[in-house]
């Protein structure tokens, strides 16, 4: 994985010192809260319902054990002993004190981490496929270009006071695990007809109150031109994005209002005007970054492992976990271990400091010291030998981290909602917990098969409900929470915004509605047909009929 050189380290330290000074000016009253606000946001610091919240960047979701242990240390020392992994592959601490934040940032800098641009109207932390570099069928590892973009976007002189936040995601394979079509810019690594790798560029996707799938503005861009082309998009957006209405300020609205053709024309015109020299990335720099992401030294192994087979036979809970949570690695004899942060009735994405240390140890001992955070709010040990799986599983079981529910109905994405978030209109965590408890029988979950439920506590859609096979949006009417249900959303390569099925449900009704939807699917599905496939075949009608007949 990427390691800071002297320059990166000095940059981050200097950014911390700068923020320390900003906090001091705020405390002394030299900065008003109004002027301090964008400055603290640019360093990941929010003012929430009960306290400050600090969001720490995990660039493209990749970490090592030392970094995760440091997060555990911060959780213990400055928070209440836990952290929350988010849908943007970051981690949030919910209880830091303002005056402690510069020290926390220094602790982060000690392990090559930061909170730079995890919020604010700037280019946010770049996200990527969490199985990057280990999954079959990848054109290229998406992380080198993500790192290049991380560096390029850090404290960008021109693009730090944009109309609104700006999110970029990168996928390296045909199968999209980074939901690129729901980002301001989505980058897909693909080959052109000559077989050369380059980038397809999507613009204008997003969730929020105007959910929309991004459009392709360039089918194929040579790799060396990526920064120049993104700069052209950013400049068109910075100058022409709407600033009169916060809800219309994202780039998706600009693309919508101009139309794809006109928007693309403006970008191409700007790009042409920039001229050759400001466009090309130094190939030596690309190579320098790519060298950090070369695969580790795998052992030559047979894919089938006798130790694993024996353990699967002898331990009732082990085989289902392997089947559900261990994905195929491109190297024979290795597996991609997915660590579920969705225990029955738990808070999706939360991990205690002890759990973080367990995962850090496992990463160090069994996964070439590397781990990932997923946008589905789980963790990944990307390279575990099959013969080590049983050891790893035992440690995870002991730490409450071995729920065999990856991609199943209880593997719910959920935003913090009204329990933490000052923008929320309803609670989301308790709904996730209720659903998880309701479907606690793992066997039933396996029978139901792949089903992605996503829950947001307000229209901002941080819980990605628009992309949920079943999406749940918490709203409020006359002081009462109620929940709107959408069906058929998807964040993959066939991205789709879910459709609202009808009037909303109360807190108590919503679980029943989900249950009815699931039962309806089970009764009408063809053999081996997933929920999404079945929904795409039959449409919303049978689900609506069933749900509104019983409620």
């Amino acid at each position: 994985m990427y390691r800071y050189d002297e320059f990166d380290a000095a940059f981050v330290r200097s950014r911390v010192a700068q923020f320390r000074d900003q906090v001091e000016r705020r405390v002394k009253g030299e900065l008003t809260e109004e002027k301090f606000r964008p400055l603290r946001l640019m360093n990941g610091l929010y003012l929430q319902l009960h306290a400050y919240m600090l969001r720490v960047a995990v660039p493209y979701g990749t970490m090592n054990s030392r970094q995760l242990r440091q997060l555990a240390f911060i959780a213990d020392k400055y928070d209440k002993g836990y952290g929350h992994f988010t849908t943007r592959q970051n981690i949030q601490f919910n209880w830091p004190k303002l005056s402690d934040v510069p020290d926390i940032l220094d602790h982060l800098a000690d392990v090559e981490m930061h909170a730079i641009q995890t919020s604010g109207n700037c280019i946010r932390n770049v996200t990527a496929d969490h199985w990057a570099g280990v999954v079959d069928g990848e054109v290229e590892d998406p992380r080198p270009v993500s790192e290049l973009l991380r560096q390029w976007s850090s404290a960008h002189p021109e693009f730090t006071f944009l109309p609104r936040k700006f999110k970029i995601a990168v996928a390296g394979a045909e199968k999209d695990r980074a939901a690129i079509a729901f980002h301001d810019i989505g980058i897909k690594i693909r080959r052109n007809e000559q077989g050369d790798p380059g980038y397809e560029i999507l613009v204008g996707g997003g969730m929020g109150r105007t959910p929309i799938v991004g459009v392709t503005v360039r089918e194929w861009l040579p790799k060396g031109e990526i920064l120049g082309y993104i700069e052209a998009i950013m400049r068109v957006y910075n100058l022409h994005g709407r600033r009169d209405n916060k809800y219309k300020a994202r780039i998706k609205i600009l693309v919508l209002e101009l139309g794809k053709e006109e928007f693309t024309r403006q970008v191409e015109e700007e790009y042409a005007r920039m001229g050759e020299t400001s466009v090309q990335v130094d190939p030596a720099e690309i190579e320098r970054i790519e060298n950090y992401f070369v695969p580790p030294h795998y052992e030559q192994l047979n894919d089938a492992d006798p130790v694993l087979a024996a353990a699967e036979n002898d331990n009732a809970g082990f085989a289902p976990w392997v089947a559900q949570n261990v994905a195929k690695h491109r190297e024979p004899g290795y597996g991609i271990v997915n660590v579920s942060l969705k225990p029955t009735g738990g808070i999706p994405g939360d991990a205690t400091s002890d759990q973080m240390r367990v995962v850090a140890d496992l990463a160090e001992n069994f996964s070439f010291d590397e781990l990932r955070v997923t946008h589905e709010q789980n963790l990944v040990l990307p390279h575990v030998k099959k013969s080590d799986l049983f050891e790893v599983w035992k440690s995870l079981v002991a730490a409450g981290l071995a729920t065999a529910n990856l991609g199943l109905v209880s593997d719910i994405i959920c935003c913090p909602g009204l329990d933490y978030c000052s923008l929320a209109t309803a609670r989301s965590i308790p709904v996730a917990q209720d659903i998880s408890n309701h479907f606690s029988e793992l066997e039933r979950q396996h029978e139901i098969g792949e089903l992605k439920i996503k829950i947001s506590g307000c229209i901002n859609a941080c819980g990605h409900h628009h992309a949920g096979h079943i999406g749940i949006l918490g709203l409020e009417k006359r002081g009462e929470e109620f929940y709107q249900v959408t069906l058929g959303g998807s964040g993959d390569e066939n991205a789709q915004v879910g459709e609202i099925i009808g009037p909303g449900f109360s807190r108590t009704e919503v679980i029943g509605a989900v249950d009815t939807i699931v039962d309806t699917y089970v009764s009408l599905r063809n053999e081996n047909e997933t929920f999404l496939e079945a929904y795409r075949r039959v449409g919303p009608k049978p689900f609506k009929e069933a749900v509104y007949a019983t409620h």
Partner: protein
Amino acid sequence: MQLIKNQKFVEDGWVLIADDAPLPEQGKIIISLERFNSLAASDLSPIVHLGVSVTSADDVSLLQGDFDRLDLIRLNFPAFTDGRAFSQARILRHQLKFKGDIRISGDFILDQVHFLEKCGVTSFEVVDEVTLDDWHRVTQSLNYSYQPGYSLADTRMRRSRPAITADNEDQELVAELSAA
């Protein structure tokens, strides 16, 4: 209002002329873009030094044909969160090679000054009480840059670039302006 240029308070020799005020025959005057566009070349005294004040919504690239008549272009922040002036400055300085003074007015904050300089801004209209110490401390607190095309002469950069690039031209230009 005070003017800061090259990290120092300087005497502002420029006068902002209201749209309905008569045009002076000499001196350094700044007029609005609207008025500028409505004037014929013959309306202006040949010995007047001319600056034009644009809003954040204006397309600065339309000024390119008038560069030889303009010594100064004044940009504006209607609110400090409105970052269009960054791109306007960048276009003027880097793409169109405007060689005069690019000045910032309006609601910008100290923490934006360094970024503005990297985009090509050379002077600042400061309304708030500020000491030169604060100015130096805050505006030079992050002197590292990942963006080769936006460097100042003293910016610390990691990446080396090919010998002759537009960026070096920019640097030379800024150095020249600083010396002036």
